[in-house]
């Protein structure tokens, strides 16, 4: 019975995606992205179980490592902009338009 896990993963992914679209704080937006990546991991592991091969589990490892690298780069960028503006709201980053 792997369907439950797939449904859970789809739910997590959707929560993450909606979070990215509606939240205002760059850090929260970013955490939502991480939630999406972890939803993908859950899906990979579930499918690996379903297909009976290990590819999915190895892919999950790679995704974790890439996500960690992304966290570090992302937080560094967000900290930089926070130090400049004293705000991490994505609404305040509004100099670039039209």
């Amino acid at each position: 019975m792997t369907t439950h896990y797939l449904v859970l993963s789809a739910l997590l992914f959707s929560i993450g995606a909606v979070g990215v679209l509606v939240r205002r704080n760059a850090i929260v937006v970013f955490m939502c992205v991480e939630l999406m990546l972890n939803a993908c991991n859950l899906a990979f592991v579930t499918f690996a179980r379903q297909h009976g091969n290990l590819d999915g589990q190895i892919i999950a490892f790679f995704v974790m490592v890439v996500a960690a690298a992304e966290v570090v780069v992302g937080l560094a960028i967000i900290v930089t902009i926070f130090r400049t503006r004293r705000s991490a709201s994505v609404d305040d980053a509004n100099l670039l338009k039209y």
Binding site: I58, F61, M64, A67, A68, A69, V71, V72, L75
Partner: protein
């Protein structure tokens, strides 16, 4: 509620009883005790010392760069786990060992860079 999930009903019931007992005791306490608030009683309790500043304190994240390093290197270690389960198996041998240390060497480069940039020193 039968079958597979049915066997968890007892766990749920026990959990509910636990919550009810604790919540009930606290609620009874609140009903029976007199409530007379004074400013002193509302102060944050800090081991008998007079509290300084607000209850909401922000700590300086002096260490955040270390945290970044830690996140990357700790997570990179996941590759060691699948490797560790097989490297002693027949057919893998020395090459596998060397390859892993090559990988670790590349990661160590990052630490060397951070060290030379004086990230690891207390400022």
């Amino acid at each position: 509620m039968g079958g597979y999930f049915g066997s968890y009903a007892l766990v749920v019931a026990l959990f509910a009883i636990g919550v009810a007992v604790v919540a009930g005791a606290l609620f009874l306490n609140r009903m029976l005790r007199p409530t007379r608030l004074t400013p002193d009683k509302l102060l944050t309790y800090e081991c008998g010392v007079d509290p300084v500043g607000e209850g909401w304190a922000q700590s300086q994240v002096r260490y955040y760069v270390f945290t970044y390093l830690y996140v990357v290197f700790a997570v990179d270690a996941v590759f060691l786990f699948p490797w560790a389960t097989v490297y002693a198996a027949p057919g893998f041998g020395m090459t596998t060992l060397v390859e892993m240390f090559l990988f670790l060497g590349f990661i160590a480069l990052g630490i060397v860079y951070a060290w030379r940039k004086r990230v690891l020193a207390w400022t």
